[in-house]
């Protein structure tokens, strides 16, 4: 069909409308994100002066070559596992939780939802410090094990503390999209499945779960990605005993003042993530 057909004109008008709706945020993101991002991209090809200033003009690939240092792979691999574990834990905890909230009456639902968010309107650092008290050798966990005669249990400065801290910090990011997805679901479909002799579990697996995958995908992305870059929680609760991607990048900018390398690391990380998200969506049968 040529562009001249009336339908094509209508489709064009429709596309224009979509474009116009996206325009404010489009422009916003181009101006306040894409343009700044180009600066970072440019910086990643620059070099560092001996005082830590970024020298533009002498473009090179030094920073990108450093990405192939085995240390980087090691750090990335470790961060990846931690982020995956965090995402999975969040999903396991948040799904039934969101399900529970979504099946309450509307009023209770709203109240519960806001109760989820309220703790996060306190100060992040103070919140995380509170976890130190809870996980320390005098904390409640430890006291329970002492009463049980299992001796002192210190979770603080272990990988478990990091996981607890990360799950705590990112759980709302998983709960919200999951809640939105489950709340919207057509329950008659589950009933239909039950009607068709599906057990509760099968009905969940075959109907509820597939219907809520958009929420699962959104939640997983919202948890996985920041978890991959997390650094304050691992430092405070995990004792920063290993280097993670997040603090490695932060250190480049703030300790080594090596902005080109920090930029290159960021660009590489974003490229990988964008690619991974793309693949994830493809696997999930959705367009990015």
């Amino acid at each position: 069909m040529g562009d001249a057909s009336p339908e094509a004109a209508a489709a064009k008008a429709e596309a224009m409308r979509g474009f116009l709706i996206s325009l404010p945020s489009y422009l916003y993101l181009v101006l306040f994100f894409a343009v700044p991002f180009v600066i970072v991209l440019v910086y990643s090809f620059a070099s560092r002066s001996s005082t830590g200033r970024t020298v533009l003009g002498d473009w090179n690939l030094v920073s990108y070559k450093r990405l192939f240092d085995p240390l980087v792979a090691q750090i990335a691999f470790r961060s990846l596992w931690l982020a995956l574990a965090t995402t999975l834990l969040c999903l396991v905890v948040a799904y039934p939780f969101a399900y529970f909230i979504a099946t309450r009456t509307p009023r209770v639902r709203n109240a519960l939802l806001i109760l989820v968010m309220i703790p996060f309107w306190s100060n992040f650092l103070v919140r995380t410090y509170a976890w130190r008290v809870l996980l320390g050798s005098d904390g409640p966990v430890s006291q329970i094990t002492q009463v049980l005669g299992l001796g002192e249990t210190r979770l603080l400065f272990t990988v478990w503390a990091i996981l607890i801290g990360l799950v705590y910090g990112f759980l709302p990011f998983m709960v919200l999209p999951l809640y939105a997805a489950i709340e919207r679901m057509d329950w008659s479909l589950v009933e239909a499945a039950r009607d068709l002799y599906a057990s509760g579990w099968t009905a969940f697996r075959k109907v509820t779960w597939p219907l809520t995958t958009p929420g699962v995908i959104a939640g997983s992305i919202l948890v996985f990605i920041p978890a991959l870059g997390a650094y304050v929680t691992p430092a405070i609760l995990g004792g920063a005993r290993t280097v993670l991607l997040g603090d490695y990048i932060v250190d480049q900018f703030l300790a080594a003042r090596n902005w080109p390398y920090g930029s290159a690391l960021s660009v590489a990380l974003m490229t990988v993530m964008l690619f991974a998200t793309f693949v994830y969506f493809r696997a999930g049968g959705r367009n990015l």
């Binding site: 181009v30 101006l31 894409a34 343009v35 180009v38 600066i39 440019v42 620059a46 560092r48 001996s50 005082t51 830590g52 200033r53 970024t54 020298v55 533009l56 003009g57 240390l71 090691q74 750090i75 410090y129 130190r132 320390g136 050798s137 005098d138 210190r154 603080l156 400065f157 430092a235 405070i236 995990g238 004792g239 920063a240 005993r241 290993t242 280097v243 490695y248 250190d251 480049q252 900018f253 703030l254 300790a255 080594a256 003042r257 090596n258 390398y261």
Partner: protein
């Protein structure tokens, strides 16, 4: 094709901007305005934009300054030297900043600081002699010390025993540390912790010999099984809460925590015999400060003996101000951990910027932790 043209716009904009800043990499442009100004004693030229660490000045001192000179002090706060540097480098305008020692030298080299007009700061004479010619700013051309302290070890005496060695071995020797309940805590800072390891090995903490750095890395690596945490924030609480037995950290924090502890006698702060870090925070005026004269007046105000004492009495950090000493609370002045003896001071070193080697410090530290 349309797609490409939409992309051309931001690229062109960026190009324009990069051109606009002259390829200088973000250093602010018009430094001349402030540099040409001559300031006289007690002169003010507007409100003071003070950029400082949080909770690092007695609010009453601020009020006193405001009342005395009829200007307002607009306070902003930063959480690291580097974040502050990024802002100054980008030309955000502040009138007075409080950078640490090594950051002063970086900022001088980057031409980010305004040379001080000593005529407007007669109280500079109040400074104790050891702060009149610091290595990071010889001759005090750009900065004046604000507060100082040391980096050392907080020790839980019950855990370590009374007859412990005052050495970095307390954190680096696995033979020792394996017996400490909870292990030890080290600063999560490449320069401080690599520096401590260098000191333990008998080198300078500004050593840039890569072999020495590798040795220092291996020291940390070997000690790691008993290092509970690399922590620059909460090591003081961790010590007095019994989470760790030895904490590597800054004098002020550790001392405050020990004083506030339920049984202060159970803890002490030591500077290892191999030596440690002496750190100095300084007042400096950014090159493109809008109100350099108010800033000079403020520096002079803070260097006043009574004001300097008030600052120390409030922060519990040592004052570089000799004229302040008569007014400082005796318990602070007489505390050997805040004001170490001359003998100990001999062993202290100030961290200097090592230029390109900063990368190596960061890298080796990352390797040590990995």
């Amino acid at each position: 094709m349309r797609r490409r043209t939409t992309w051309m716009v931001p690229i062109a904009v960026v190009g324009l901007m990069l051109a606009a800043c002259g390829g200088g990499g973000g250093a602010g442009g018009d430094t001349t305005a402030a540099a040409d100004t001559t300031c006289e004693l007690d002169q003010t030229d507007g409100n003071l934009n003070l950029y400082n660490w949080s909770d690092y000045i007695d609010p009453e001192l601020v009020t006193a300054f405001e009342e005395q000179y009829g200007v307002e002090v607009v306070e902003s706060f930063y959480e690291s030297n580097e974040a502050m540097l990024a802002q100054i480098q980008s030309g955000v305008s502040y009138d007075l900043i409080v950078p640490s020692d090594y950051m002063v030298s970086i900022m001088i080299e980057e031409e980010l600081l305004l040379p001080l007009q000593k005529d407007a700061i007669p109280n500079i004479a109040n400074l104790a002699p050891e702060f009149t010619d610091p290595p990071y700013d010889p001759g005090l051309r750009y900065s004046v010390a604000y507060q100082w302290g040391t980096t050392g070890l907080g020790v839980n005496l019950e855990a370590v025993g009374d007859a412990f060695v005052e050495s970095w071995a307390l954190v680096f020797d696995p033979e020792l540390t394996q017996n400490f309940p909870g292990g030890v805590s080290l600063l999560d800072d490449p320069r401080e912790t690599m520096g401590a390891a260098l000191k333990y090995l008998g080198y300078s903490l500004n050593d840039t010999d890569l072999d020495h750095l590798a040795e220092a890395r291996d020291v940390i690596r070997a000690a790691k099984p008993y290092i509970a945490t690399f922590d620059s924030d909460q090591y003081d609480e961790a010590l007095v809460n019994g989470e760790v037995s030895v904490s590597h950290g800054y004098s002020g924090d550790l001392l405050a925590a020990i004083w506030d502890a339920e049984n202060p006698d159970a803890y002490t702060y030591v500077i290892p015999e191999e030596g440690g870090t002496l750190w100095v925070d300084n007042m400096a005026i950014p090159a493109d400060a809008e109100h350099p004269c108010t800033a000079h007046t403020f520096v002079n105000f803070m260097l006043d003996g009574e004001n300097g004492a008030a600052l120390t009495n409030w922060t519990y950090y040592a004052s570089p101000n000799a004229a302040a000493e008569p007014h400082i609370l005796p318990e602070i002045l007489e505390d050997p951990t805040i004001y170490p003896s001359d003998e100990i001071r001999q062993r202290l070193e100030i961290i200097a910027d090592t230029g390109d080697y900063e990368i190596n410090f960061t890298d080796y530290f990352a390797q040590a932790k990995s």
